[in-house]
Each structure stands twice: as C-alpha cells, then as structure tokens.
C-alpha cells in the first residue's frame, strides 16, 4: 500500500487526470482526481480525511491510465475512500450491493418473484427510500440456475490442453449464458475448460471501501485458483473488472503484494479476448469464422482499459468476415460497478454515460458490444439497445 502512496511524489500537477475524469465533469461534488488524490493526500497524513468528496470518485481508474507520470491516482483515492468509510461507517446498502454472490444466492431461489419485484415501481420506490438503491438503477434480473450448475452437468470434450475459466458472480447468477458461450468458444479453440468452485473477487467491496471484507474474498478466491495456476494452467475471465482485480488491483489497492497464491494467480490471469488473441498471434486459434454481416458499436470499459493490453476484442472481431465493429470514442458508461446504482449517485452516472448512450443510439444498431457486465446493463438501461460480451459474436461466428 505504501508503494501506491509513494507514487504521489511523481505528480507534477499537470491536470491531465482532471481533464479526463468523467465524474468531476458531471458533478461538482467530486472536485477531480488530483484534488481528491495527490493534493488532499498530504492532509490525510495526520490520519483524518479532510473532506468526504472522495466518496464521489467512482474508481473507474481513468486518472491512473492517463497519467503521464505513473501516479496511482485511482488507487490512492480508493485507499482514501476506505479510510473515510472506516471513520464514518459503511451504510447497509453498500454492504449489500458489494456482495453480488450473497445477493445472488439469496435471490436465486425466488428468481421469478425477485425479478418481478425489480419491475414493480412501488417496491423500487420503497427500496430507494429504505436502503438507497435508486428506483431506476439497472439491477439485473437473477437467473433461474447458476452457471456453476450448468458447468457441473456440462460434458467437456476430451482435449489435451486445459484452461481454467474464472466466471465471476455476474456470469454465475445473472448471465450464465455468457459463461456457456465462453466455454463453447474455448472448447472450439481446442481446450478443455475447467470451472473450479469460486466466489466473489472482492472488487465491489473494495470499491465501497470495505477493505477487510474485500481482502477475505480476494484471498479466498486466490486460494481456490492457485493450485491450477501452479499446475501451469492459464485462467481466463469474461469479466474485465474482476480479472483486473486478480491481475493487479487486489495486490496494489488492498496491499496484498505478499500473498503468494494471489501472485501466481495474477501471473496466470487473462482477459478472455486477450488470451484468444494470444492464441491467434501464435497461430493456433481456429479462424474459420462464418460471415456476420453486421455493423455494431463497441465500448471498451474503463476496467478493460486498465489491463493496458490495447483492445483485444477489436483485434479478434476484426477476424470475422463481414463484421464491422465501430469503436466508440467514449470514456465511461457511468455505472462504475455499483456507483451508478446508488440513490445519490445515479443521476451523476447517467450524465457521465450520456455521450456513450447517444453514440450507441446514433449507431442505429440493435446490438452493442462491451466486455464488462455492469457496463452492458447500464448501456441497455440508457439506450434500450441490447449489449453483449464480445464472446457472444465470436460464438455466433464459430457457428456454435
């Protein structure tokens, strides 16, 4: 954690982070990453938070990505928010939405009822008043069965090589279909897909400032995946934010650099498009794609950009004949995981997403492509356009 904090000495106050922060542009409640981070940090040395504005940082991480000096601005702000939460306490709402595996497990047995409830206005209003989840926030309907259950029953074809799939909570409880398609594509690429039991990576807890709980989740997941990593298996993920958590954020932000399980898992973790692009680069990816004559807009989510790997989804989809993918010139969809769900932050998130929504609508496409689940839900909420993971299009193009 001190390593993150030490980078603030590199800040030359150039304000590039300020100019690219989508949240300070949308609300004056967040004064900007430089003010909240490197500048306020010196006042925090005494152990107290100078103000509460850092709570309005969304942790999208754009500030760190654009910083030309390598200052870990978003990470400093995440740690500052955790300190703030420790001082002021974490509201029940934040504890709840930060545990997607718990809410998923609770809601699933009642799936039809729970999903109906999401659409009943008076219930949503009551939910907003009681716990502060905005009545219009894009909460996903829970699936009837978990992805894990599907995976247990799935008959994996015999293959020499194996790869581990880290599906994350959203695939398990809300979008099992994304996981099924990921498995099919990986199998098509010539791999047996191992799906070990797994729980949340701790990212939502981290974003909500609940570091001790986030650490427990992150370490438990690392422990579950480490034997596979040590056996030489790569771990691929469809959730770009959760895989970034395993690659870098848990170690840096939560200060878990010393944990050896997390280290080996981190070294073996890949975004699924990144991993497939590597297979293409080494010449082993089957490229007998059927034509998909369509033109679709693509949004690279903030956490995807945090991987610093370029945009492998675009590289892969460029291999599909007839498919034209238009990369949108956008920063952030505004939801930032759980930020845009909160009563007091929903409108800010929607303002942040305005440009993206407009570009998606103007594209006239019936489909938008985006790697991250919460961003997909936000895009659909803001535009009415269905948003899919890039793997969905690869799945189609393979004719699976």
């Amino acid at each position: 954690m001190t390593a993150v904090r030490a980078t603030l000495d590199h800040c030359v106050k150039c304000t590039i982070c300020e100019s690219h922060c989508p949240f300070s542009a949308a609300t004056s409640l967040f004064p900007g990453p430089k003010y909240a981070g490197p500048q306020s940090e010196r006042f925090r040395a005494a152990g107290r938070s100078p103000d509460v504005s850092v709570d309005y940082c969304s942790s999208c991480g754009i500030c760190t990505q654009v910083c030309p000096q390598g200052v870990k601005i978003a990470e400093i702000n995440s740690q500052a928010r955790a300190a703030l939460k420790q001082e002021h306490g974490i509201p029940l709402r934040d504890r709840l939405i930060a545990r997607p595996s718990v809410t998923g497990r609770l809601a699933m047995p009642l799936a039809p009822l729970a999903n109906l409830g999401l659409r009943v206005r008076p219930l949503r209003v009551a939910m907003e008043r009681s716990i502060g989840i905005h009545r219009d926030a894009p909460l996903p309907p829970v699936a009837r069965r978990t992805f894990q259950r599907w995976a247990r029953r799935h008959r994996a074809p015999a293959r020499e090589r194996a790869v581990v799939y880290f599906h994350g909570c959203s695939t398990n409880y809300y979008e099992p279909r994304t996981g099924e398609m990921a498995v099919a594509v990986l199998e098509r690429a010539g791999y047996r897909v191992l799906v070990p039991p797994q729980d949340c990576c701790g990212l939502p807890l981290q974003s909500n400032g609940a570091f001790p709980a986030a650490r427990r989740y992150a370490l438990r997941l690392a422990q579950a995946l480490a034997p596979y990593a040590r056996a030489g298996h790569d771990i691929v993920a469809t959730s770009t934010s959760c895989s970034l958590m395993l690659k870098r954020e848990a170690r840096e932000i939560l200060g878990l650099e010393e944990d050896d399980d997390l280290r080996v898992v981190s070294e073996r973790t890949y975004d699924i498009c990144e991993w497939l692009r590597d297979r293409f680069d080494e010449g082993t990816l089957p490229t007998d794609f059927s034509p998909l004559p369509m033109r679709v807009p693509y949004h690279a989510p903030c956490q995807q950009r945090g991987h610093a790997i370029g945009k492998p989804a675009l590289d892969l989809l460029a291999l599909v004949p007839g498919l034209e993918v238009v990369e949108l010139d956008t920063d952030c969809c505004g939801v930032a995981g759980t930020y845009g769900l909160k009563r007091e932050k929903y409108a800010i998130g929607m303002r942040v997403g305005e440009r993206l929504f407009r570009l998606v609508r103007e594209s006239g496409s019936e489909l938008a492509v985006c790697d991250s689940e919460t961003c997909r839900w936000q895009i659909t909420h803001g535009t009415g356009v269905r948003a899919v993971h890039p793997i969905d299009l690869l799945h189609r193009a393979y004719g699976l």
């Binding site: 150039c14 590039i16 910083c67 610093a308």
Partner: protein
C-alpha cells in the same frame, strides 16, 4: 506482429503513428499516459527565440544549424519541416491552422507576454499582435486560471492598446471555481449558455475592438462555437491558451487519436515499455509491462518518442548521470561542470542532454555508430535542443515524427 511499434503518445509519437497508419502500416502506440500534447497551448512553435525573438524561422533555422551543428534541426531540413506543418494542418483540418515558416505570429500569452509561434488554430489567429488595433481581454469570474486585467496590463507595457473585462457567465452557477474544461463542455453542448455568453460579451465590447478570451470555446465543437460567438458579436474573437487543463491541447490530441483509431492504428495506454529483446544489432521486440505481466511487442521497426526528463523518456539518476530507460541508449551532451544553475530561467547545462542520432534519426553511440538499425528516436528526447528557451519543441516533435516515418517506409519497401 506490427510493422512499427511507437513508444510515447505525445505530438511526436502520435504523428509518427498516424502518418504510418495512413500509409497502411500496422502500427501500435504504447503509451504510459495520454501524452503531453494536452498540456500545450495548441500552437505549433517551430523556432521562437534564438536567442533573440525570431521573426522568420525560414531564415533563422539554417543560421541556427550553422551555429549549432548538433541541433535537431540539422537533421530536419526546411522542406521536411514545411511538409510536416502542412501534414499537421490536414490532420487537424477542422481546427484550420494557419501560418508558416515565413513569419511567426505573435500571440498574447495568459500572462500578457508576447509569444511567437509558427502555426495557430483559426480561433487564435485574430490575436496576432502584429495586426490588432485595440484589444478587449475578457475573463470569467469563476475561471481562476485567467486574469484579464493582468493580461491587458502587461500587453499595454508592450505598447499594445488593451483593456480588460470580467464576465459573470458560469456554467455551474453559484460555484466560485470552475475549470476551463467545464466551460468548454458547456459551450459544446448548451446553446443557451452560448447565447448567455454572447449577450454578456456584446454588452461590454466597443466598436473596433478585437476580443481575447481564455481558450475554453468548446472541445469537440470548437470551430463552430468560435464562429457562432464571432457572428453573434460582430467582432473578431480569439482565444488565449490558459494554464492546463489546456482545452486547445485537448482538441489536437483528440483529433490525432481519433484519426489514428480510424486509420486502424492501435493505442495501448497505461502500458510501460521497460526493455527490449535485441540481437545482431537489431531490436526484435520491446518488452512492455501491462497490468499483470511483461510481454514482447514484435515489429519490424521501433520508434522511441518517450520525451525528455520531464516525461520519463530520460531518467536523471541520483549520481547525476542521465539514462534512457527502455533500451539503455547512449546519452549525449552530458555537461562536465555543474548540471544545474540555481536561477530557474538561466540556461541549464542538463537541458540539451538527450539522444544523438544519425540522418535517419536512429540513435548513435559516442563514435557515431548506429546502435540498433531498426530503432528510431523522435521528439523531446533528441539531444542538443532547449525547446522551452527556443520555443522549438512542437516543430522538432512534429518534423522528427514525420522524418522517422519516411525513413521507416523507405526501409520497409
């Protein structure tokens, strides 16, 4: 496998990458951050001082090269500089840059100083102090980085007729401190705010005056915002670059990055080049650190445009030595005596330190031998220039960025 991997996303790196992508080459830009273009005032300074103020860069550059044979302009002839300027003008066409090498435009700075530059966007050109009869410098009460009275006062000291006025127009009414980018975004998107600004301005401007405003007149819609304001006012309007966040710098960066994307180039932002795989006098790959691992980026040619000490392209060690951290390339021009003068604005002995290069801008060692036959350098890391004293940084970055593309294309074909 790429044709070319460019390291650095500033003016040199982005121009080189875009020029190559426009010619159908497979290009990736690996950039630690988003590049320093957004910190600049958005003008293209080719040669402003040498050491006296330069009126005619076309005449002065050849003399400078004779006086300083190691200067980067010795490798960047006037034809190339001219080609580079005209390429830049077309690359950022919507901003309508004007000017050239025959006469520097003199623009007021945000401190009211007179600033010579070769190219300026249309929205600044009416501020040319060679021509303006009378100036009205206007600021906004809520924009803390621009003080019109200070600008006007200093301009009057320089013999220019100028007065100042402060407007109340504020896109976040009630707030005391609003950044230039918030103004720019509001002017982009909000027709009502554009009217409010024009009306308030119309009430203070007098016939015959030219109006100077802080450079916040829109980002994406900048040319239209500027034209609309001018039409509503019936008076010439020009922008003065402010402290960063720089709106005019952001416009340039946005257009170049979008053009690179449209031309099929790849931007990898947040990744740091940390080393290379080399052999037989060539670089085979650059090793790049991403969120989880170091991975090789393979290409036929590599362009290093990582900037000087201020950007981390060169690193000043505690023992006073300077090194180039990616390929450990030889660094030229190390001073024998004290590296720093305690007076900030003095010539600084360390300032011209950088990479010495051959005709094709490939780094060379102390004996003039090319280090890697397929590695090129461009921009602020080139040795023997002092861009902030000479006001030559944009010209060197742009022309060296274009020069390496020409050398690379020649070798690839």
């Amino acid at each position: 496998m790429f044709d070319v991997v460019v390291v650095g996303g500033g003016l040199a790196g982005l121009s080189a990458a875009l020029r190559l992508a426009q010619q159908g080459r497979r290009v990736a830009v690996v950039a630690k951050g988003l590049g320093a273009t957004q910190l600049t005032g958005g003008t293209i300074d080719v040669l402003g001082y040498a050491p006296e103020r330069v009126d005619n860069p076309r005449r002065r550059i050849p003399e400078l090269v004779r006086e300083q044979p190691d200067h980067p302009y010795a490798r960047l002839d006037l034809d190339l500089v001219e080609r580079s300027l005209s390429w830049f003008r077309s690359a950022v066409e919507p901003l309508r840059y004007a000017g050239g090498l025959d006469e520097n435009v003199l623009l007021p700075s945000a401190a009211g100083a007179v600033r010579p530059t070769a190219l300026a966007p249309a929205s600044m050109s009416d501020g040319n102090l060679r021509r303006v009869p009378r100036l009205l410098i206007v600021g906004f009460r809520a924009l803390k980085d621009f003080y019109p009275a200070y600008v006007a006062d200093n301009l009057r000291h320089a013999g220019i007729e100028a007065r100042a006025s402060v407007l109340e127009a504020n896109p976040r009414s009630g707030e005391a401190d609003v950044s230039g980018l918030v103004y720019a975004a509001a002017l982009d998107a909000d027709a009502a705010f554009r009217r409010v600004l024009a009306d308030e301005l119309a009430a203070v401007v007098e016939p015959g005056e030219t109006v100077g405003l802080p450079a916040v007149l829109g980002v994406d819609e900048a040319p239209a915002v500027w034209r609309e304001l001018q039409e509503r006012l019936g008076a010439p309007v020009f922008e003065i670059p402010t402290l960063p966040p720089s709106v005019p710098g952001r416009r340039v960066h946005r257009l170049l990055a979008a053009a690179l994307r449209d031309a099929g180039g790849r931007m990898v932002v947040g990744a740091v080049a940390v080393g290379a795989e080399t052999g037989n006098g060539r670089a085979d790959a650059l090793v790049v650190q991403d969120a989880a691992r170091r991975r090789p980026y393979r290409a036929h040619s590599f362009v290093l445009a990582t900037g000087g000490v201020a950007s981390g392209g060169l690193e000043l060690e505690l023992d006073g030595t300077v090194r180039e951290p990616v390929l450990d390339l030889p660094v030229a021009g190390m001073p024998d005596g004290a590296p720093f003068s305690p007076r900030y604005l003095d010539p600084q002995a360390l300032a011209p330190v950088g990479l010495a290069v051959d005709e094709e801008l490939r780094p060379v060692d102390a004996d003039g031998r090319v280090v890697y036959e397929n590695v090129y350098a461009a921009g602020a890391m080139l040795a023997a220039a002092e861009p902030w004293r000479e006001k030559s940084g944009d010209g060197i970055s742009l022309a060296s960025g274009i020069r390496v593309t020409e050398a690379i294309v020649e070798r690839l074909s």
